[in-house]
Symmetry: C3
Subunit: 415 residues, 3 copies
Amino acid sequence: MTDTALFTVNNIWVLVAASLVFIMHLGFSTLEAGLVRSKNVVNILFKNVMILSIGLVSYYLIGFSLMYPNQSWYGVIGFSQVGLSLPVGASIDYAAGHYTYWTDFIFQAMFAATCCTIVSGAVAERMKLNSFLIISIFFISIGYPLTGMWKWGGGWLDQLGFYDFAGSTLVHSVGGWGALAVVLLLGPRIGKYGRDGINPIPGHNIPLAAVGVLLLWFGWFGFNGGSVLSADPDAVSLVFVNTALAGAAGAIGCYFCSFYLFKSHDLSMVLNGILGGLVGITAGADVMTPFLAVLIGMISGVLIPFSVVFFDRLKIDDPVGAISVHLVCGIWGTLAVGIVGVKAGWEQLALQGIGVVIVGLFTFLFIYLITFLVKKTIGIRVTEEHELEGMDLVEHGSAPSIEGMTSTMEVRVQT
Amino acid sequence: MTDTALFTVNNIWVLVAASLVFIMHLGFSTLEAGLVRSKNVVNILFKNVMILSIGLVSYYLIGFSLMYPNQSWYGVIGFSQVGLSLPVGASIDYAAGHYTYWTDFIFQAMFAATCCTIVSGAVAERMKLNSFLIISIFFISIGYPLTGMWKWGGGWLDQLGFYDFAGSTLVHSVGGWGALAVVLLLGPRIGKYGRDGINPIPGHNIPLAAVGVLLLWFGWFGFNGGSVLSADPDAVSLVFVNTALAGAAGAIGCYFCSFYLFKSHDLSMVLNGILGGLVGITAGADVMTPFLAVLIGMISGVLIPFSVVFFDRLKIDDPVGAISVHLVCGIWGTLAVGIVGVKAGWEQLALQGIGVVIVGLFTFLFIYLITFLVKKTIGIRVTEEHELEGMDLVEHGSAPSIEGMTSTMEVRVQT
Amino acid sequence: MTDTALFTVNNIWVLVAASLVFIMHLGFSTLEAGLVRSKNVVNILFKNVMILSIGLVSYYLIGFSLMYPNQSWYGVIGFSQVGLSLPVGASIDYAAGHYTYWTDFIFQAMFAATCCTIVSGAVAERMKLNSFLIISIFFISIGYPLTGMWKWGGGWLDQLGFYDFAGSTLVHSVGGWGALAVVLLLGPRIGKYGRDGINPIPGHNIPLAAVGVLLLWFGWFGFNGGSVLSADPDAVSLVFVNTALAGAAGAIGCYFCSFYLFKSHDLSMVLNGILGGLVGITAGADVMTPFLAVLIGMISGVLIPFSVVFFDRLKIDDPVGAISVHLVCGIWGTLAVGIVGVKAGWEQLALQGIGVVIVGLFTFLFIYLITFLVKKTIGIRVTEEHELEGMDLVEHGSAPSIEGMTSTMEVRVQT
């Protein structure tokens, strides 16, 4: 009898958390839409909406079975089935009284599309829509679940002792490595790196970007809090505290660092500082004290401006700063588990390093290969003319939104 | 003792679900605001905010008592009282250990205003504000609760065996029928249907529309998940999975269909595809396997572009596609319960058809009559001059937002 | 055994409520961003994001310990420690089976930053960023926790019998008094009060403001619902009903009142009516019947237009109406607990009055003093030139977003 109530509350919390992770896709969408130019805003929203949709369906079809197979070949690769198997009404008491089979799937499915959403920001304003969607399908269906299985599916990294609570490595740095691979093959936007140095290309709608970051922070309470995989009061509440404090400290660290470097109060930098702090705490949100969460978040925030400048100097054009946020802070957060907190120690640090390197290497090479093949066949970059005109007009038949042209069209229609 | 914990978790989930349904009103508001022209954006937001507010209060005053009367006349009409009766602190253990009296009310109240919000999108950019609000009061207080009682209040449709889990018919097609009735009496916007064919009138802010659809999807986890009326782990988690997959499949179905028909990647079409998928799964979200949810959602998505073209050919002007989404996919989803899934069968299909037809007929005639009376008395359409100028200036004294004019006003103020 | 499940559901609800309160910061951000001019939008967002971040960290460092000390000097002032003390994994069974130590902190921390967010709206478009942040740190770390302790920390007001369920006084009127103090020292925006009377300065993006208010309403279900401090079915569900109805009635009351006064359908007024209703019910959301919630909300809504006109006549310039919403309706809601509902009575009314006056007096003087000191040292107001140019350009190096200039910059970059 008691078990029923506890099972019910555990399960419903993971479902609520899944819906909070869902809202992160809205956060990514508005963040990226705000940070691109108005001529590409429909394009980036189209990408994000389709990735979410394709991601859910392809993770249903094969991703989930690759990531959580019943058995696998030396903990490296395995597969259960196509789709989900249980009939309606047969899933009770699945994971040791914590959640049902369907809950397990939906919580993981909400995570899966995230890795491609990270890529979509980095490749914004110059990549062919269909090529992007094709690469995304491979990433969500094969790349992400495979490395995910190594740890969360009980694979070799898990057996080794690698620790990644909610995915600083398995979700964020994986997305970051994928983004880096595609961006290297894609090249920077026209006009970004000129003879006279780096030309900043400001986003067209900063409020939309701010909305995105606060929605992401909101969703992160589900992302990290749900990763407890039960409603365990101590664990979930500590994770909430650490998630809140790390994001806040990321903003503060980034505020001082970017003011020191650039002498201006740059909102988009501070927004990325929040995200950096959140990515940083994700690997160890359950094994850190609040003080350590502040520390990890603040260092993440300090890393962001340096990282943004670093990638710009290398002429790696990342319109939204996704690589700095998700790759750099993802690596930092994963290593931090070996440096401070309950699990800290040289051995753990070495394990964390091994996980970072191997997962990174595999993901980078896998996405590089897929992207290379797509580039050689249907191409990955829009024409120069289309890039200058903007993708909204060319690929979506839409005039730039929130601007004069739309109104002009309307006036024409009325007369 | 155990019952207390289970009762508590059931009740709190339905409350959380109620707040998710609440956020759907924000979703509708931003979707509709994004899809109208900038000169009418304050007007549509004003409508949506007032409908939500009037809806909650009028459902409190009489709607709830009409929909869930203690006894009724042959299961067709009944009424309990004006307002809510219980004193503070007297509602425990109301519905078989599932939720309190107040929870019952608030979850249902959040649903009630939805039907009018569906109408507000379809009649956008040309309808008088006060006439719209008057019709809305009748719809929320009488029309919606009456047909709702036939099924959810234990009325004749329920006794017959009609099935509508969360309201493909009782909420969505009811809203759609209401919208159709008002639009037929209202006529299309000036300039939409010219001698040279159909002139598309694009929305002024597609990011806002995308925000709206993702918020609606988010809220739908409460709309469908809360309709289990408890936190039952199996039922709620299956409903979550089906809701996610049907929305995703709606996007994919619509993506291919609209690309095939129009040769362009139309974001607003895909957004309506998501909503179509969600409306489609709503009637049977608890009796379908995930595979069937994908199937139902995908067919909903395919229906959307055809339906939009169909209503445009009939010169039924629906600026946001509300009739295609809520009426067409609402009917499809209700019938689908008789075609596939646990309940499928010829007899069930016939029952579903009866429900669709009778509920539709009643709602259409009721709203048509109310609207006709309002049209003959105070009128329902703004003047041609006001329509061209935009309703924001005329009815709200506001210059178009997010545009040049506002800034002009500000500059004028400063000098 | 049973206790575990009940404890778990109580705790998880307070955490979910904390994340709903978190989203109120997004609501405030978009509301305020929408109601200022486009030249100051990055500035107001920067303020709100930094307040939230600084607020969480400084409440972690000392605020929480000031507000909930183990012992205090005559219930007036006390302090426990710097930071939070418990090690990872040691917090179970903290508050009589309701929630953990971490949960207690995070729910209260989400509240703390609110008081400064109220100020940020009232001082928008003319205040120096750093001066504002300095004052905020004092407000969040000392002012707010001190008066909060008097009631919620078991201090002298609590022992006296003052009642404030979720903070009409302790949060909202405190924020309003702070706003009033700063605004009096800051003065009105240039051009607001001219020789020819009051010049309205309309916000640049009303949809953003509407999004903000609906998000605030959404978050208020956690603000009030979580203040039950458990998932008690009766209490939480009644609070939900009252919160929904009071907000709705606020809109309706304000709609009629502002139409009567101004003969126009003013959306920003109605939006503030909703907020007024919500602030009004906050003090007594658990001791009112739904009918009384409608009454309290409606009176709040009626108060808003009068209050806005009143402060404008006094040349107290409050760009977003924060003082009318939070101070005026906060006082009204607190007094209402002594006038109607379960607790009503002359003695209670007197106690409510004492709380309103003493908390208000302390907060006003404290913030006035801090602001005065900051004004005399580094100054609180930007230069006239900078105010006219807009703060985004001067303080943030950003051109106005959502407008022509941004595009111009982009075009320049590309050529």
